[in-house]
Structures are given as C-alpha cells and as structure tokens.
C-alpha cells in the first residue's frame, strides 16, 4: 500500500506492506537510524518518536497508522545547524553514556517542555517513566531536561549541530584522556 507522511518537515511517500512497523519504516526505508529499535514490546522506549507532537513508541505503531501524520525523529531536533536546547542539555549535564536510550529520551523531553516549559523533577521523572536507561540512573537525564528548561533559547554551549553530525567531537585521539569530560562541557 502507498503511504505518505511528514517526517521532520519533509513529505515522504512509500510503497510498503501494511505490517511494517513505524520504527522499521523510519530506520530501513527512510534510513533515519537515529531512532533506535530496542525491546520490540513497547517497554523500553528507545524507539520513541513524536507523532503530531506527542511521544509514541514506534515499535507499536504501524507505518500505515502514521500515514497522514506529522512525525519528528531525533534527526529533526536540531535546526539550521543549531542544537535543540534538549540536545545541549544532554551534553551539558552528561545525560547519556552509551546513548542507546538517548533519542527517545530527548524526544520525550522536547514534548514535555513544549507542553510544560517549567516541569519540576517529579514531572520530568513521570514523563520519562516509560523509558529505560541502564547507564545514568536517570539523575543526569533529569538534570539535562532541567538544563533545557532553564535555557529555552539554548546558548551557553559552544557545541553546534555540525560538531555532532560531523562527529568531530568524537575524535578521541585529539582529546587528552583526562580532559575529555571538560572538552565536552567547554
């Protein structure tokens, strides 16, 4: 069947089988592998994308059901070479370690802040309660979202989307080991 939807502001049209799940459509057909595919059972939340601005678990939505809707993935967070404050917050406050849960966490954070620009820590914890992080113990994720709430226009960080997308901040040999953390925070 033919489906069309908006993904990160771009209209996309594809011919797919009705049984294709949204997560696989995004990753394999559109090639947007920033959306991660985890437990497959709507428990872990790494596959979260925004559908009409609301977080959904894309492993439990058919691509066919998303047709006609507006989808935003992690690739759509930064705009015009500028990171979303949520992305900056995750850098500033060390909101990730392995990074597997990060795309879903950041999209949920974006949706939370769009609805409630000044959430308290309980509201942040509730918002991400359907998502699992096995590295951070959640404390730094909560702080990252707080950072984004305190910096709605971003700023304070020298990092740009280009740094992240080009991977120039991950050239390990360029960064003396003992200062890696400071480099990221600079």
């Amino acid at each position: 069947m033919q489906i069309s939807m908006t993904v990160n502001g771009n209209e996309v049209t594809s011919d797919i089988e009705p049984r294709v799940l949204l997560v696989h459509y995004i990753r394999e057909v559109l090639g947007l592998t920033g959306t991660h595919w985890g437990c497959d059972t709507s428990n872990c939340g790494t596959c979260v994308v925004l559908m009409d601005g609301q977080p959904v678990k894309s492993c439990t939505v058919l691509a066919a059901m998303a047709a006609g809707h507006d989808i935003r993935t992690v690739e759509g967070l930064a705009s015009g070479g500028t990171l979303d404050p949520v992305q900056q917050g995750f850098m500033e406050e060390h909101g990730l370690q392995c990074g597997f849960c990060t795309p879903g966490m950041m999209l949920t954070a974006r949706a939370l802040l769009d609805k409630n620009p000044h959430p308290d820590t309980t509201e942040i914890r509730q918002a991400i309660s359907g998502q699992i992080c096995r590295c951070t113990g959640y404390a730094t994720i909560v702080r990252s979202v707080q950072w984004a709430a305190a910096h709605p226009a971003g700023g304070d960080s020298d990092a740009t989307a280009a740094d992240v997308i080009d991977g120039t901040d991950t050239v390990i040999e360029d960064i003396p080991a003992q200062t890696q953390d400071t480099e990221v925070k600079a």
Binding site: M1, R19, H24, T41, G45, T60, V61, M65, Q126, G130
Partner: protein
C-alpha cells in the same frame, strides 16, 4: 524481530463505514484503535487477523460530554485525555487514580478506553473502574444500538459481549450527588500489569450513612463487583470497622492465582488491604463533595 503476519489494512471513515467493513471482511477482521494490546499480540502471532480496520480517524468517538445525569465518554478517548480531564477527576476521581498507573505516559498517548475494555485483560484497570461506577456500554452493530450494563458486557478474560460485527462506541457513567470513588494498584514497576488492585465507589445519604457502594478487584480473580458488599455497606456509617468487614468480604470473593507476581496468600492480603484503602478514600471524597 517481531513482525506481524501479513494482513490487509483499511481505515474506517465513520462508525457506519467501520460496521460495513466489519460485515464485509467477516470474522477474520479486527478493529484497531491505540493498538497497544492488539499489535503486540499480532507481533507474537497470537493474533493473526486477515484485515485490520483502523478506527483512529473516527473523531466522532473521541469525546467527554456531560449529558444531564450522565457523563458520556467516547470509546476512542485516549488514556492521556482521561487522565488530564478535570471534569472527570471532579466527578469520578477513581478514573484519574487508575489512569495515572495504567501502562506509562507514552503508551497512554495511544491507548483508548474502548480498546482497554474490549481487550478485557483480567489485569486491565478500566474494567474495574467501569464496574464500580455502574457504567453502561453503548454498542453499535448492523441491527442498531444496544446498551449493556458492565455485568452483561464482561464475559470473562479476553471476552466481551461485543459481537464480531459490532463496535463499542461509548461508555455512560451515572453522575450521583454526594459520591466519591478511588482506585489503588500494586505493581512491581511502572508499566507492568497489576499484582493486584481495588476500586470503590460510594454514595452517601444526607445523614452521612452509605446509600450505595460498589467494590471491585483487578487481577485478583474476580470478574465483577464484590457480591454482598453493597448490602453490607448500605445504611451504615463509614468507619474503619465497616471497611475491614467489607475488605474481608473482598478477600474471600477473590480467587487469585500464584504466578511470578506473587503467591495466593499475598494477593488475598492485597485484596483485603487495598479494599480498605479505596473505601476509606472514596468515603472521604464523597464527604468532601457533600460539603462542597
């Protein structure tokens, strides 16, 4: 990788169109709303419909409407909408209690009240909520509309009175003055099925005695409300001794199974303790409503 078996997909454009599609495609067709029960079952190949009829475009089934002494809720109303509705929380605080612990916030963005009731999982919370509130289910089919009490709607685990060619369209809740309700669940972690849960609804008479009450249990082996609880509570002054009597009745009526979530005696203890708590809370809320 979990992928459903092949099926054909069609979007219904109205309730009438959904009924036509169900009639046309017959017993191998299934309605999908939020999809958070059906799609996992299809991914595990426990369910293999040949046709999936998507009703997510039927905004006519997504509403919360006060209509005289009833509150009408459309079957496609999402859990998040129910949780966030101040009107529902004021009339039926049990709904907010339950919705806050149904799955997780992201699943609640998709799941619907109609889908939950039609899935009829024994550990599903809204069945108990609808039971104790005395809700009615409005079902449409080729022969027209019929309205069923929850006792007639539930047929047991994963089974309801909704026929293959019918659609659950709406739930109607009677609004009664001087009423309060509450729900409490014990779960191992966010999003898990209940180890056990209890719900209660209480209406007070003008003199502060209990005029009517209902107690229900979730995941504890009781399909409908606790038989005899209303008779026990009616005409009595709310109080801890009375709640304890009702709690013993609920524990005796429960028939839990031992599983990874706990042994039978623990679950019976939950039936007892949670019944006390929800009756206490429901009575306190009813008394507040009376004062307000």
């Amino acid at each position: 990788m979990q992928i459903p078996a092949p099926f054909d997909y069609v979007r219904a454009t109205s309730v009438d169109n959904a009924l036509e599609l169900l009639a046309r495609h017959g017993p191998e067709s299934r309605v999908v709303a939020g999809g958070h029960s059906l799609l996992p079952m299809m991914k595990l190949r426990l369910s293999r419909p040949e046709w999936l009829i998507d009703i997510n475009d039927l905004y006519e089934l997504d509403f919360i409407l006060r209509d005289g002494d009833k509150l009408r809720i459309g079957a496609l109303t999402r859990h998040t909408t129910l949780l966030e509705s101040d009107e529902i929380a004021a009339l039926f605080p049990i709904v907010r209690d339950a919705e806050a612990v149904i799955a997780d916030p992201i699943v609640r963005n998709r799941g619907t009240i109609g889908g939950s009731l039609c899935q009829a999982d024994p550990a599903e919370d809204l069945s108990t909520v609808c039971d104790v509130l005395g809700a009615e289910a409005v079902i449409r089919g080729p022969a027209g509309e019929r309205i069923l009490a929850m006792a007639d709607f539930h047929r047991g685990p994963y089974e309801t009175a909704v026929g293959q060619d019918e659609l659950l369209c709406e739930l109607r809740f009677p609004v009664r003055p001087r009423s309060g309700s509450a729900y409490e669940k014990v779960e191992r972690r966010v999003g898990d099925w209940a180890v056990g849960a209890a719900g209660a609804s209480v209406t007070l008479a003008e003199d502060g005695t209990i005029a009517d009450a209902a107690v229900g249990l979730t995941a504890l082996g009781l399909d409908h409300t606790v038989a005899g609880a209303a008779e026990l509570l009616r005409g009595r002054q709310p109080g801890e001794e009375l709640f304890a009597e009702a709690a013993r009745l609920a524990a005796a009526a429960s028939d839990p199974v031992a599983d990874q979530r706990g042994p039978i005696d623990y679950k019976r203890h939950l039936a007892d303790e949670l019944t006390r708590r929800v009756l206490r809370q429901a009575c306190a809320r009813a008394a507040q409503t009376q004062e307000g």
